[in-house]
């Protein structure tokens, strides 16, 4: 039985029709069949613009499964993109498939002037309806700036990492090991918080 219902397929086709360019999604996984591979193959049937590449890894230290959306290698999801995180995956694909920019001018100016690289980790659970907001925002920052790497991380699947970053609630966004915020932060709040943390003065 397919994972996507006919209604899901219809709705997803509607979203995928917005794409104007091809998008590669690379799944790195342990040997053997997995649901993430199955869902990607079902998505593959819904748009000719989606190119799915599956790579097998036996590296025990790698966080698997891992998804990379687009060619940059900076828009990542670690774990199974189930539940609400399936929405994050779809939004990431749609974003990568078109040239429209959704970030505000202030955010783009901040990213254009970055003097250091940002590694954003957004810890989530599949049952959290407001987590995709944080993952998608992080992915959009990474999609815009080559100084940003953004990972959505399914906290249940990577418990050691979750413990390391003191995740006891989701979403929790951790940036460069030193900056962390709880809950869904709208774009201007996250950027302002980050600016304060980095010692960047608010625009005059």
């Amino acid at each position: 039985m397919p994972l996507l219902s006919e209604e899901d397929r219809k709705a997803i086709r509607g979203h995928f029709d917005l794409m104007t360019k091809d998008v590669k999604v690379t799944l790195t996984k342990a040997p053997g069949k997995c649901d993430t591979e199955t869902i990607l193959s079902e998505l593959n049937e819904l748009s000719s613009r989606l190119i799915v590449e599956v790579v097998e890894s036996t590296d025990k230290d790698q966080m698997l499964p891992s998804l990379s959306i687009g060619d940059s290698g900076r828009v990542l999801f670690k774990g199974i993109p189930s539940g609400y995180e399936f929405s994050s995956l779809l939004t990431g694909i749609i974003d990568a498939g078109r040239d429209e920019q959704t970030l505000s001018d202030e955010t783009m100016a901040f990213l254009d002037n970055l003097q250091e690289d940002l590694h954003i980790r957004v810890f989530v659970t599949p049952s959290c309806p407001h987590c995709p907001q944080s993952v998608v925002l992080a992915h959009r920052l990474a999609g815009y700036s080559d100084r940003v790497v953004a990972e959505g991380i399914e906290a249940n699947e990577f418990q050691e990492l979750s413990m390391k970053y003191q995740v006891q609630g989701v979403p929790r966004t951790v940036i460069n090991e030193t900056f962390a915020v709880e809950g869904s932060q709208p774009e201007p709040y996250l950027i302002e918080g980050l600016k304060r943390h980095m010692g960047i003065e608010k625009d005059a």
Binding site: H15, Q168, G169
Partner: protein
Amino acid sequence: MSFKVEIGAVNSGTGSSENSYQLVIAGGGPAALSAAIYAARYGIKHLVIESWQPGGQAALTAEIENYPGFSSIAGSDLTNAMKQQATAAGAVFVMETVENAVEENGKILIKTDLGQYTSDYLIIATGAAPATLGVPGEEKYYGRGVSFCATCDAPFFKGKKAIVVGGGDSAVKEALHLTHVVSELGLVHRRDKLRAEPYLAKKLVEHEKVTTWWNSHLAEVTGDDQGVTGVILDTPEGRKHIETNGVFLYVGTVPATEPFKSLVDLDGKKAVVTRNIVGTSNPRVFAAGDVTNNGFRQVVTAVSEGARASAAIFELLESEE
């Protein structure tokens, strides 16, 4: 673990290409989704401005057992099905945040983080956000043991101790959800009896993992650099320190009415004051669901109010032709 598909939170919008509508529906929960289904089927030119939390509070409810037609359904499954039904009926959604709404030249002007829309009518169905208690430690340990969403955060408390504060339906439903995961659960309620449905209340109070603290108040959340380690309760027997890892707060909600405060009358709790169930002080603005002062905050009443609001607007549009 089975793969679950939730597409309700897909954000593929970059703002609507049009900006003039007969009806704008603000919100993404059951009231808004029901209003959207009816608006689409009535052929009203409409736009649903969802916030970033699809499904509203209902989507945060682990199990809903009192919505007719389903003996038990996950809140997110129910709201996802509603959204799919609305989409199939032709409802048009954008995922934006309403920042402000005012009346100008007989139209409602709605400003969002991504755009600006004018509309003949507006349905406010923006729901309500969890209320806080303002006690020491609550804000400090938010996300590090203090939570407003058991559905989201329960996995972090597997085999640990947790407490739930509250006595309404939400508190009891989420406490029951937590009993599947935690080793011990404390229930703290300011009265000597739960307000929740008696069926659910009995199930919780009799649960082997549950200890009840009646007539008690949360005074402080304590912790260390790892997160919450306990709470201080004011009980009829005096102050008590209870060891716990998680504190789940269900102490009411605050209606999400800030953007609409100049448009309609609000009551002392910031809820939209309704007339004839879905009308407001502004004849061009209707309201439905948890954002109103209608009282009974259930999915079943929210969908009813959403439907009534769209039906009332359809009649008004017809009479204007």
